[in-house]
Every structure is written in structure tokens, then in C-alpha cells.
């Protein structure tokens, strides 16, 4: 695959680099793990395989060899020769075809999985791009014009399905399956989003007004946001007594309150430890909603219990297992 236009920010990410946080190595990985896993299931890849994470304005890519792909996440109007490429299903593309993405109206990030996976060297067990350290992914950076990505050969069990799809392709430069995963993200075009959270370790250290405001007021995502974290603006949240905190572990979804009282939601590229009070933790399933939100949108936090958060997590895992089994029926 050749990058003709890079788009706003396109990088290679998988489910993250685990096992090395004790050495200060961040997890990184995709912002929307749900969309990544479905994309991989659709092309018959192992779930954690690396994909292209496309942000807000998509790339123009030249597919140089016959390839089967799947596109999930936000709708960035994927097109081939002026025709819309359907999302959430496997698509077979013939060689020398240009796949182009536009800009997104709803959502923020799109995922492009390729059958066989991208030929990217794993660093510390992961193909994710660690931008700050300049390692992993495609040369440790976002993709730029002229980059060429190799695709690994597909596994034997993937071949029969690809052949089936290929047979349906008469004259067009792409063909998609008739079946698809119904878009599970439920992205609304509304400017207001609700994020479910559990209370953080330092929630009780905040004064009564702040505790109340955290759940009652809305916070806007500022443009000073990126894969490391979303900086929000809204009513300042203050501690009952100013406290110097020692650095402790933080993770994707931790909501910190720095001295200026404006919340920061830590995301995929966050550091392994932090020294600001943690007011709440985003429920893992809602990291998907966060990954698909953009600067300008308003966030309203809703409290749930740890039990509810865990139940939601398990429910999603069960859904993914169901999808996997269903796809297997169509593919085999």
C-alpha cells in the first residue's frame, strides 16, 4: 500500500505494548479497541493484529496488490473511483486501485485492517507506534506521503473466503460481502456526549461543590488535545485541602485534575505514572465513545459502580465472541 496523501494523522497501532510499563514504556495502541477488534475479525486476522488508525481527515492510498480489507470506526467516506466503499464488512480490492478517504462528520477515528496484517517489525512485542520515543509502528512516526507498507501473506484458513469474494468480482475494482456487522458504535451527531465513570482514588479529596459539579456540569473538549490526553475546559474543580501527591500509576481513561482545576482525560499515549489527583476513571467500554469524540464537543460524566463497569466490560467481550463465531459461519 502506498501513501499518496497522508491525511491528518495516520499511524499503525495494535492493542498496545503490554508488559513494559514498569520500565516506563507506555502502552499506546489504538484509541478505539472495539473497532480494531471487529476490523480484524472481518478479515480473518487475529484480534490484536495491527491496523491503520486514521484520524479525522483520511489518507489516499494506492493498493498495489489484490488485498482484502475491512474498514470500521467513524465514517470518513471511503471511496474508490467515486463509489462508496461499504464499512463494517470485508472488501476485496484489486491491484492498482486507489482508496481515498475524506473528512468525518460524525466520529473521529477510522480503522483499516488488511488480511494478513501489515509487515511492521514488532518492538517489545507490539507493532504500535510510540511517538515520543520514536519506536514501533512505521519508523516510529505517523505515515507520510510516499511511504509504502507491505502486507503479510494471508494464512491458509483465510484463503477460501478471499477466493469466494474474488469470484464475485467481475469488472469492478472492488467487491464487498453482502453481510456485515451492524454498526455497533451508535455515534450520535449531537454535540453532547455522556461518558460513564467510576470514582477515582482521590475523588473524596475534592470539595463538595467540585464533587457535585463534576457530575452535573458539562466540560468541553479543547483543541489542546491529542492521543496523550484530552484537555477539557469547564468549571474549575478544587481540592478541599491543597495536597502534594506522589507519582502513582495512571492508565488509559484516568481523569486527572491539575492545579488549574481543568480535567485531563488520559488516553492511549499517556505516561505510565502521574502526580495529579485522580478524580475518576472512564469505564473501559466508553473509551470507544471518547476515541470517537472531537474538540468542541461537550462531555457530561455519569457515575456508575465498579460492578456495572465490569459487567459492561464482560458484556462487550461476550458480544465480540458472538461476532467472531458468526463471522466464522459466513467465512467457512
Amino acid at each position: 500500500m502506498e501513501v499518496l496523501k497522508a491525511g491528518l494523522f495516520t499511524s499503525i497501532q495494535d492493542l498496545g505494548r503490554t508488559g513494559y510499563q514498569k520500565y516506563g514504556v507506555i502502552v499506546s495502541g489504538v484509541m478505539d479497541a472495539f473497532s480494531l477488534r471487529i476490523a480484524n475479525l472481518l478479515v480473518g486476522n487475529p484480534e490484536p493484529e495491527a491496523v491503520m488508525e486514521i484520524t479525522m481527515v483520511g489518507p489516499h492510498l494506492k493498493v498495489k496488490k489484490n488485498t482484502m480489507i475491512a474498514i470500521t470506526g467513524a465514517d470518513l467516506s471511503p471511496m474508490i473511483a467515486g463509489e462508496r466503499v461499504p464499512m463494517w464488512r470485508p472488501v476485496y480490492i484489486t491491484q492498482d486501485t486507489i482508496l481515498q478517504f475524506g473528512a468525518c462528520k460524525i466520529g473521529c477515528r477510522t480503522y483499516l485492517a488488511v488480511a494478513g496484517g501489515y509487515n511492521i517489525k514488532a518492538v517489545m512485542g507490539s507493532k504500535s507506534t510510540y511517538l515520543r520515543a520514536g519506536i514501533g509502528g512505521f519508523s516510529g512516526r505517523a505515515l507520510s506521503k510516499g511511504d509504502v507498507l507491505q502486507v503479510l501473506p494471508v494464512k491458509d484458513q483465510q484463503r477460501p473466503f478471499i477466493k469466494k469474494l474474488q469470484k464475485n468480482n467481475q469488472t469492478k475494482n472492488f467487491v464487498s460481502s453482502l453481510w456485515y456487522v451492524p454498526e455497533p458504535l451508535g455515534l450520535a451527531s449531537s454535540n453532547n456526549i455522556v461518558i460513564r465513570v467510576t470514582r477515582g482514588n482521590e475523588f473524596s479529596l475534592f470539595d463538595a461543590a467540585s464533587q457535585k459539579n463534576f457530575f452535573e456540569k458539562s466540560f468541553q473538549i479543547t483543541t489542546q488535545s491529542d492521543r496523550m490526553g484530552y484537555r477539557l475546559s469547564g468549571d474549575a474543580l478544587t481540592l478541599e485541602n491543597p495536597t502534594e501527591m506522589l507519582s502513582e500509576a495512571v492508565t488509559f481513561g484516568t481523569i486527572q485534575i491539575p492545579p488549574d482545576g481543568q480535567p485531563i482525560i488520559l488516553l492511549a499515549d499517556c505516561q505510565t505514572t502521574g502526580g495529579y489527583p485522580k478524580i475518576a476513571q472512564v469505564a473501559r467500554v466508553d473509551l470507544t465513545i471518547l476515541a470517537q469524540s472531537k474538540p468542541g464537543q461537550l462531555i457530561h460524566f455519569s457515575e456508575i459502580s465498579l460492578q456495572e463497569a465490569e459487567d459492561l466490560y464482560i458484556k462487550r467481550e461476550i458480544y465480540l465472541q458472538k461476532i467472531k463465531r458468526t463471522i466464522a459461519l459466513y467465512v467457512n
Binding site: Y23, R132, I135, N201, S247, T273, A283, R284, Q307
Partner: protein
């Protein structure tokens, strides 16, 4: 919150969730060698005896945070106990509780001494003169004080391979720069307040830079990608500019 008591010292640990996939075991609230020793002992035990469903752990000044997969934890517990539908947080807390009861937290950990060569001042240590003037010391005084310390690595965080270090002499403790630099070269040795440390990768930062080391603190292609680990003791020693160049050319670490 779950409390437990150490048999010997009669201290308690507290456990708190970090979302539904993490649990933080806290041994205290201050930077202290005995708290650090307990943290290290517990972490070592986890390293040797990971439980099923555990993803990884990380240590900080006073706590150990364990990350786990709720689905795995619940399914394994389900198989073992016939399924009581327990919250995976509670299951993990229970496992860690048992470990805590078994671990000897007062064992003296074998410490690893790491000597770090530093070329002080000049282009490598642009703030060395400022630090000296701030304390009304000579530049050589500052170097002597910095190199005479034995520094305990409490934890690795902030950046890959970056050590949070204790034991720096207050004689050279200097506040951060009022305006941080946009980019600090890899290997820079600095002071910020009572902390000293080395930048393992190029990042923006507000530390007072006093020198640079040719050692690579972050080694992404090694099995253990960090030169330093929590519990190591660091000593800095001064090298000349020529020795620095030779070190870099020789490529030894």
C-alpha cells in the same frame, strides 16, 4: 477498601481500584526507604508468581498497581469455585491479600549499583553555572557534591527508562527553570528541586541541565529495555569531553 497487617511492623496496606482493570496496593504515603523496600519485595514476589489473568504490574514510590483482565479472572474463578459471580476486583484483591500474607516484606533486597559517567558543564550542562551561582558554590563544588551521592531509584516512570531518584543533597537542590526548554537532548543529567535524574529520550522539560551521559538509559531492543530499575543505586562520576566522545564511538553501554 481492604486492610491487612504486616506481622512484623504492624503497618497496613490499602487497596483501591484503578478502574475495572487495575488495582493499586498502597504501602504508605511518603518517600521513605522502608516503604520502598516493601514495595520492591511485593513486586518481586509478583514477578515470580504472576496469577492467571494478570496483565502486568508497575511500582511507584509507595504502591504497586496490578493490571488484570476481568474476563480471564472471572472465568478462572468460575471454574475453580463453581461460579459465585464475584466481582473480579474482589477476586484479585483476595489473591493479592494472600500474597501479602506470604511475602516477607522486610527482606533486604539485593541492590544493584549502577555507575553513570557524566560529562559535566559546557554545552552538555548549560545550567551548571546557574546552579553553582544560585548556591554560591563553585562549579567544581557542585560536581563534587553531585558525584559523592548514592542515589536510590524509587521508580521508573514519566518516560521510558527515566528514574525517580532520592537522596540528592539539598546543597544543590535548585528550582526548575521558569520557562521549560522545548527539547532536551537524550542523556541530559539535570536537577529539579530536590530531584536529580537523566532524560532517557529527547523531551521538553524544565530541569536545570548540569551534564550529559553517553549511556543509553532506554534500550528498546533489549530484553529489559530500561538500564535502571526500581531499587538500583546510582553513582555519578565525572568524565572528560574526550572520554565522552570515546564512549559514544565505542558504543559501549
Amino acid at each position: 477498601m481492604i486492610f491487612s497487617e504486616d506481622r512484623c511492623i504492624n503497618e497496613s496496606i490499602t487497596m483501591m481500584p484503578l478502574g475495572e482493570t487495575g488495582i493499586t496496593v498502597s504501602f504508605g504515603k511518603t518517600i521513605a526507604q522502608d516503604i520502598h523496600r516493601q514495595v520492591k519485595a511485593f513486586a518481586n514476589y509478583l514477578e515470580q508468581h504472576p496469577f492467571l489473568g494478570m496483565v502486568e504490574y508497575i511500582t511507584s514510590f509507595c504502591s504497586v498497581t496490578v493490571y488484570y483482565d476481568p474476563l480471564q479472572v472471572r472465568s478462572i474463578a468460575h471454574k475453580q469455585t463453581g461460579g459465585s459471580g464475584s466481582l473480579s476486583y474482589q477476586i484479585v484483591a483476595g489473591i493479592l491479600q494472600e500474597m501479602f500474607a506470604m511475602v516477607n516484606l522486610n527482606v533486604e533486597n539485593k541492590t544493584n549499583l549502577v555507575r553513570i559517567p557524566v560529562c559535566y558543564g559546557g554545552e552538555f550542562g548549560q545550567d551548571l553555572e546557574y546552579v553553582a551561582a544560585y548556591h554560591k558554590l563553585s562549579v567544581q563544588n557542585v560536581i563534587d557534591i553531585h558525584t559523592s551521592g548514592r542515589y536510590l531509584v524509587y521508580m521508573i516512570g514519566f518516560a521510558p527508562g527515566f528514574p525517580y531518584v532520592g537522596g540528592m543533597s539539598p546543597q544543590i537542590a535548585t528550582p526548575r527553570r521558569s520557562s521549560p526548554r522545548l527539547s532536551i537532548p537524550k542523556g541530559s543529567v539535570g536537577i529539579a528541586g530536590t530531584q536529580t535524574g537523566v532524560y532517557p529520550i529527547e523531551t521538553p522539560g524544565g530541569w536545570q541541565l548540569i551534564g550529559r551521559t553517553p549511556l543509553a538509559l532506554f534500550q528498546p531492543d533489549s530484553k529489559i529495555p530500561s538500564l535502571l530499575q526500581a531499587g538500583d543505586i546510582i553513582e555519578f562520576y565525572s568524565i572528560t569531553y574526550e572520554e565522552y566522545q570515546a564512549y559514544e564511538k565505542g558504543g559501549c553501554s
